[in-house]
């Protein structure tokens, strides 16, 4: 369950940019399919951590990217949604990972009442 520490890292990063905690409407993040992070478990942890730390109950919007890989057998560059997807052209699993491990907090949305 390293998702719990990751959720705490997320609120630390958000709090730092905002200069403190405040209720959020939405949190937008990006997770690569090879990051080793379980989106469901992160969602569960983040909901708890955000509430506990004074960020309210924001919607967590997760953009799941595709990984970029290059086949070491036939040199084809391809995209994959998960680890178990081999080269579409020759079926090989022998490959180099070009991207797919990213995990970023992209932005937060804050509702502001005009009064």
């Amino acid at each position: 369950m390293h998702e719990l520490s990751l959720a705490r890292d997320m609120t630390r990063i958000i709090g730092k940019v905002l200069g403190g905690c405040r209720p959020l409407d939405t949190v937008n993040i990006t997770i690569g399919p090879l990051s080793g992070i379980s989106p469901e478990s992160l969602r569960f942890c983040f909901t708890e951590v955000a509430k506990m730390e004074g960020f309210g109950e924001p919607k967590l919007v997760i953009t799941e990217t595709e990984a970029k890989l290059i086949c070491l057998d036939c040199n084809v560059e391809y995209q994959a949604k998960e680890f178990y997807q081999g080269c579409p052209s020759c079926g090989s699993f022998s490959r180099r990972i070009l991207s797919g491990r990213e995990f970023t907090v992209d932005s937060v949305e804050i509702m502001e009442g005009t009064d």
Partner: protein, 222 residues
């Protein structure tokens, strides 16, 4: 009721591992400045990390130091000290992995000044999932699996086995008693990770230890 609300979007654009990676870079700089080659050892609980370190400690003696990561107790550090080398215990207090900041603190407590010291081994918390994404500042990430765990583990934990530089298959002394396809394990690991180095050992009997320790020696003296 006033539903005249606006939404303010605040750009964050920050990789979540930033802080860990900064500490990892600082550990790496500190250790390479002292010519210390560093290993991050990852496996399930009971695969034989501490036994391997005991065996390595007998081989390397004061050339080697150890950081032990455990949820609780400093039993493993005590075992390694008895085998003959400096060991510092990090008690993570519930956390399922080590991070680079915890290692950074540990380094501050250790004696790294001896000219002899050439190898630092970090035993991560026993877990095949959580430690995989945390760079500690090591030179080599090593994954260790043991025969009793079964030969289907590699593809179940791709996040770890795609990142390691060295795969150790431990408890080879049990091969006559256990259905474990060593070649399948190696093939599956190479499929995720074409450049992985593989060692088959028994930390208990010493089988394969000379080869593995020789390989490490080449890394830090070569």
């Amino acid at each position: 009721m006033c539903d005249d609300t606006t939404i303010q979007i605040v750009d964050i654009s920050t990789p979540v591992m930033n802080k860990n990676d900064r500490f990892a870079a600082s550990n790496r700089e500190l250790l390479s400045g002292k010519n210390i080659f560093t290993l991050n050892l990852i496996s399930s609980p009971g695969a034989g990390k501490t036994t391997l370190l005991e065996s390595m400690a007998r081989f390397f003696g004061s050339k080697m130091a150890v950081i032990e990561g455990d949820v609780q107790t400093d039993r493993d550090a005590e075992r390694v000290r008895k085998a003959g080398c400096q060991a510092w215990q990090i008690e993570t207090g519930g956390s399922c992995h080590l991070d680079a900041e915890a290692v950074n603190h540990a380094l501050g407590h250790m004696d790294l000044e001896s000219d002899e010291l050439a190898l630092l081994c970090i035993e991560n918390v026993g877990n095949l999932i959580c430690p995989s994404g945390y760079d500690l500042g090591e030179n080599l990430k090593i994954g260790l699996i043991s025969l009793p765990e079964g030969d289907d583990k590699i593809l179940k934990y791709p996040s770890l086995f795609s990142r390691i530089s060295v795969l150790i298959i431990n408890k080879m002394d049990l091969l006559p008693h256990i259905d474990f396809d060593v070649n399948r394990t190696i093939d599956e690991c190479r499929s995720l990770n074409p450049e992985v180095m593989v060692f088959t050992i028994s930390a208990k009997t010493g089988e394969g230890m000379e080869e593995f320790c020789g390989y490490l020696e080449n890394q830090f003296s070569g």
